[in-house]
């Protein structure tokens, strides 16, 4: 091992790198095939080969989607991803929702909790198949792929971390093709400070210096350690990352990610084959949208047009703080940078501002800047606005940003977009809350939530304090949902007091694109967005047109994805 035969100069070459990737995939494959489902972690190297009924098809996919959403939600709630608390919360929620197969796969081993070997194998198969089903559902768009990859990565990492220390992991990694080598003692001494200062444990504490260097350090081209590079958690010298053996997990993850990403591109490429099977398409099409609730992209019939003249009032009364802030910047500074324009522009589109009114709004404010006249505006910004409305370029119907997207967005100097509860410092946020007339006890409540990274709950509290204690049904998940709720409350259509029982929605998109809403009752508000689906619902219109007992997965596997 230790790649003794490889000279440094060849590491950088694509040929070698691809060979490593292939070897890794092959190795994983071999391990899996030696005895299918003996490994506690699957890297999903090969597509499953099994018979599955259409009902099961949806049940499998849905169960996995729920797990991913639980992780997604926990990422927003706890600042420290992969911490013990983070993991425990996820486990608790998966158990609470009783997602049986994943409880077994993720948190049990044969013999504990009465899990038999057969059950374990069945659960691992469930994990395997459901992963591939979601690949189908999320391969379609760049945004879906990103979402899916990032959460599958979290799930994978969580499982892998559970393994650290186990000899199997190290053996696996340090197999012949692993493109790293052990750092010699002399070199380790030479870069002692640099290495020690680069390896951080949670909370920014360093490991005791002497302790850190007693363990093995591996040198590997930085491309294999991208996740460590991103977090600046590794010492880099001349293109090589000095990886602490505790962090080898990260290296496997980087390889897994590229494998997953390639897999998804392959599905996308072969999607036309899948599309020929109506039964699959009925489950897979809009899968994400159907199970996350409302999609604010498509204009609903009941949305009446909003004119530019109404915006001054609406923005102060019914815009969520993220949009209100952006709106205020436009009014005050007559300018907004690209991603701010997108965040606000798509929101305006979805509350029903038609394109000509949107142009009127942007033009009216932007041209107040002395250096921007009407012609300059048309040149510089008009295309952009028309693009948002799908009138230019590839004419895509862009959907407005969800809270998730707003919270996760990259905010740099000069930018005003993002979530004010996350991307503002205390002083700025306080000023905004004062401006919105949130009383001091409300301020305290909101600031406390922000401190704990509960940005969406803080937003919900903001809603309550600015809407006479009326609340948002099921928590704030989307700026446009906030807006609609606000309109309903202010027009007297809705009267849900904070203490009332919260209703949750399941939205079903019919094949013709129309939506049907079902209302379910649940008593726990905080977990609502995760459990907004219920596969056991009777009379699901999706079940009826499909044939039972068809071998869909078998078919899929044969399509080479």
């Amino acid at each position: 091992m230790q790649a003794g035969g490889q000279s440094n100069s060849t590491w950088g070459q694509a040929r070698v790198r691809n060979r490593y990737k292939c070897n890794l995939a092959r190795r994983i494959e071999l391990i899996e095939n030696r005895d299918l489902y003996t490994s506690p972690i699957s890297t999903y190297a090969t597509a499953p080969n099994a018979n599955l009924s259409v009902t099961d098809f949806e049940r499998y996919a849905l169960a996995r989607l729920k797990v991913l959403r639980i992780i997604e939600r926990q990422n927003l709630l706890s600042p420290d991803k992969f911490s013990v608390e983070w993991r425990n919360k996820i486990e608790a929620e998966i158990r609470r929702q009783d997602i049986a197969e994943f409880i077994i796969v993720l948190f049990s081993s044969v013999g504990t909790e009465g899990v038999s070997e057969t059950e374990m194998i069945r659960a691992r198969e469930f994990d395997h198949i459901s992963h591939f089903l979601l690949r189908l559902a999320f391969a379609g768009t760049e945004e879906h792929r990103k979402w899916f990859i990032s959460l599958e990565m979290d799930l994978f990492t969580m499982r892998l971390r559970g393994l650290v220390g186990a000899a199997s992991l190290r053996n696996f990694l340090l197999a012949e093709e692993f493109p790293g080598k052990l750092v010699e003692k002399d070199e380790k001494e030479k870069y002692r400070t640099e290495i020690c200062n680069s390896v951080l444990l949670g909370g920014g504490l360093t490991i005791q210096q002497h302790n850190k260097l007693e363990t093995d350090i591996y040198k590997v081209s930085f491309e294999y350690a991208l996740d460590l590079v991103r977090l600046r958690k590794v010492f880099l010298r001349n293109g090589e990352a000095y990886v602490h053996h505790n962090e080898l997990v990260s290296i496997i993850c980087t390889a897994f990610r590229s494998h997953l990403s390639e897999g998804l591109s392959m599905v996308k490429k072969n999607m036309h084959i899948v599309e020929q099977d109506e039964r699959i398409m009925q489950v897979v099409a809009d899968f994400d949208r159907r199970h996350t609730g409302n999609n604010y992209g498509n204009k609903k019939e009941n949305v009446s047009g909003v004119s530019a003249d109404e915006l001054p009032t609406l923005s102060q009364k019914s815009f969520p703080l993220c949009m209100r802030s952006l709106y205020d910047v436009v009014v005050k500074e007559h300018h907004l940078k690209h991603f701010g324009r997108l965040q606000l522009g798509l929101f305006l589109k979805a509350i029903g501002v038609p394109i000509d009114e949107a142009v009127k709004f942007w033009r009216g404010h932007f041209t107040k800047k002395p250096e921007i006249d009407g012609t300059r505006f048309d040149k510089q910004y008009l295309y952009n606005i028309r693009h948002m409305y799908g009138q230019e370029g590839r004419r895509a119907d862009y959907t407005p940003y969800s809270c998730m997207k707003v919270i996760m967005s990259n905010v740099g100097p000069g930018d005003h977009h993002g979530c004010p509860f996350k991307h503002s410092d205390q002083q700025n946020l306080r000023a905004k809350l004062v401006e919105a007339q949130v009383p001091s006890n409300g301020m305290k409540e909101i600031m406390d939530l922000v401190e704990k990274h509960h940005f969406q709950i803080a937003c919900q509290k903001y809603f309550e304090w600015t809407h006479g204690s009326m609340t948002v049904e099921g928590g704030v998940n989307h700026p446009n949902q906030y807006f609609e709720e606000s309109r309903d409350v202010l027009s007297g259509k809705k009267t849900i007091k904070t203490e009332d029982v919260i209703k949750t929605k399941r939205v079903v998109v019919m094949p013709d694109g129309s939506q049907r809403t079902q209302t379910l009752l649940t008593s726990e508000m905080e977990t609502q967005p995760l459990s907004s689906t219920n596969p056991e619902t009777d009379g699901d219109p999706l079940d009826t047109p499909m044939e039972e007992d068809s071998a869909i997965v078998d078919f899929l596997a044969s399509q080479g994805y």
Partner: protein
Amino acid sequence: MGEYDPTLLPDLLKPYYDRLFPTDLMYRWLSYGSADYFSRREFSFTLMGDVYIRYQSFGSNEEFGKELRRRNPEKIDIGAVYTQKPKSRDSSSGFQPVEKEFVVDIDLTDYDDVRTCCSGAKVCEKCWKFLAIAVKILDAALRDDFGFKHLLWVYSGRRGVHCWISDTIARQLDSHGRGAVIEYLSVIKGGENQAKKVKIPNPETLHPFLQRSVDIIDEMFKEICDDDQNIFNTEANFNILPLDVKMAARNPASRYEDVFNYINDNKKEKKTLRQLHPELLLQFCYPRLDVNVSKGINHLLKSPFCIHPKTGQVCVPFDPKYVDKFKTTDVPSITQLMDEIGEHDKAKESEVNVLTWKKTKMAPYMKIFNDFIKKLEKDRETRDKSDNNKELF
């Protein structure tokens, strides 16, 4: 010598592309030894009247030059190398970007929170010092940390600098990889609603990259932030400081000294102050990077040797070693260049065969570009040789 007049640009561009634009060198750079590679590269042109055309591609050096002379673009953008020739792409999903130089883009407009000398598009010698620090920090990190060797630094022609990292590994990074590298290099985080944009985890154990960056800044910090910019005279900047520091620096006339004296005097006892010192250095002087330009493999960036339509200046390469000495006012404008050629031809009619750029102020910049390409080619040669040897054994 004539002043640059933007309305004359169309007339100047034609002779510029005819006689000065280094088509051959551009081809040698962007082909990396493969005509096929060059032919799959996207170029975009901005033509007169703001007509923007994407997905141009050229089969050969000759075709590239011919099209430039025919179209006389106001601006050329360089995009990615695709799976197919962009010009004859089909609409299938098989058309994907596969490679591109890793690029870094820094723009002085992003320094408006710390610049007091100028704002917006204006740039003076004091502003350039921010860019000089940026270049030093990034150049060191890209070379020493990431091991990149082929860096082409260019001045954008008005208020920014770009870096084209052309090593094979850099070109082959996917967007995830690009994201990781640029995040490593990004220290300033947060938008207009976050006054304090730098947070370091532990002052006792600064990551070597941060330590080096702080050291580079430290050399010029007082000159820039006190002498040039009087940084704490801006209330927004002063307000970043924690209360105890603000209290110690109540006298507006001596804020800078008071702040740093207070920090130095109390560093030993207070961890927050040990942390604050590097944080302030980074916040005020660390390069502001346009992350999105670097992340996207298909993101377009203005080509070197374009003419900036507002200033008429050429987008020229420079040597990062001498970035302190670089003066934007020395960079020739297209008007100056045309005058120079005219004068030279008049004075020395016999020297018609002299390469045109040698007659002009372009010469030193051209040499930097040429050296960069030669080094690339030499590297490629040695690698090919060692590859061949391997096959033999």
